[in-house]
Amino acid sequence: MPAANSSDDPERARRFREAALPYLDDVYTLARYLLRNPSDAEDAVQECYLRALKHFDSYRGPAMKPWLLAILRNVCRAEFARRAASRSTPIDDAPEAAEQPPLWHEDQETPETQVLRDRDAVSIRRLIDTLAEPFRETFVLREINDLSYREIAEAVGAPVGTVMSRLARARAMLRSAWMAEQEQPK
């Protein structure tokens, strides 16, 4: 065993636990939405906390929650890379198509009176799960993890303008999927 280093310091580990563990549900929530699989999500969350502990000494902000979510997100990206390498079938998302001009150009005018019918949490989660990756990520960071645009931009390493257009697009896609379902009940 190497001589005691900073990661052996119980006081440091305690400070880390107190600062980081309160966000466990946030981190797990994002992992579930990004990976769409409970056991992969658990692995990713565990990896995220180990990595965060390792880098806790150099942590100077931003706030703890966006910092953890940024690490989680990068763990998940590594998982995407692993999935892509181990499977010949691509992940369902098509990033090339992702940043295309906004949806409303091609959108048929929806009747202005049309109101989204209330749905239960399970159905809404399922609708969110159908969003393509960069949009789902931005949407979840904003609506469920409650990050500001700037925090999202830092966490995903994209300009704020991109975050804004992804979010607009994510909501447009979600709304279309929502409406399509209520118009054609199975």
Binding site: F16, P38, K54, D120, R125, A153, M164
Partner: protein, 255 residues
């Protein structure tokens, strides 16, 4: 402003992310455009429907236990099949975080984060000898009137001694270049500063807890007041403080 611009910016408007001048530009466009106004209403409705649902996933207790166990140990013992990718992924996390200096003129200043940093500074200042309280009293009926005439709001001062948080006084502080009320509580040896400031919004914003420079900050808004409770207490105890305070203000209104 064109409809295409407005249809992106209206989301930032809904999210309260626009600075005042861009918000009024969007509003001016909406004033003359029924289609965009309908869009705004539709997305507001969708957002409210979504916000009313619990869409989070709670971490399974077994995962929590495993993480707690692994964090207590000197060497992480649970290599995952992603161990090889570890270095790669952390590298990009760090560079993503380092990529600050974001410029987006349409966004309001990140007031929240800046103010929270100021709140922590004010908390730290208060801990220096002789700076904690301007009025020392465990009696809410002494502390509350003391604020009269010193601020444009009257911070609720609530004795939470019975709930385990002792009121020890009040103080006038400065945050965001404005006078702000600080009500000071104590739990064991830990000081809690509760900062109270006026806000133009009367929307109830549920609490969120942030950790900044090792301090926990619980922020919430209620009936035209912004609250920040800051302390070196653990997040769970600070959440307890906030919940008890909110419950007590609720009772005071109803009682």
């Amino acid at each position: 402003m064109t409809c295409n611009e407005a249809r992106i910016l209206l989301h930032a408007l809904i999210d309260g992310e626009l600075d005042a001048s861009h918000a009024s530009e969007v509003e001016a466009h909406l004033g003359g455009c029924a289609a965009c106004t309908a869009e705004l209403a539709a997305y507001r409705q969708m957002r409210e429907t979504i916000a009313a649902k619990d869409l989070r996933h709670a971490a399974p207790p077994s995962l929590r236990k495993r993480i707690e166990a692994s964090l207590g140990k000197a060497q992480p013992v649970l290599p995952t099949r992603r161990a090889l990718l570890r270095g790669f992924a952390m590298g990009s996390a760090v560079s993503a975080i380092a990529a600050t200096g974001l410029v987006a003129i349409v966004l309001r200043d990140d007031d929240q984060q800046r103010i929270e940093a100021e709140i922590v500074s004010a908390h730290l200042r208060s801990l220096q000898a002789g700076h904690l309280t301007d009025v020392v009293s465990t009696d809410q009926h002494t502390v509350k009137p003391w604020f009269n005439g010193k601020l444009d709001v009257s911070p609720p001062v609530i004795d939470l001694t019975a709930q385990g948080f002792t009121l020890i006084g009040g103080r006038l502080d400065y945050v965001d270049a404005r006078a702000i009320g600080a009500v000071v509580y104590k739990r064991r040896a830990h000081i809690i500063n509760l900062f109270v400031a006026q806000t133009t919004s009367t929307v109830h914003r549920p609490a969120r807890i942030e950790n900044l420079q090792g301090f926990n900050i619980r922020h919430w808004s209620d009936r035209g007041l912004n609250y920040w409770a800051v302390s070196d207490l653990g997040a769970d105890e600070l959440a307890e403080f906030g919940e008890k305070f909110e419950a007590a203000t609720q009772n005071n209104r109803e009682g």
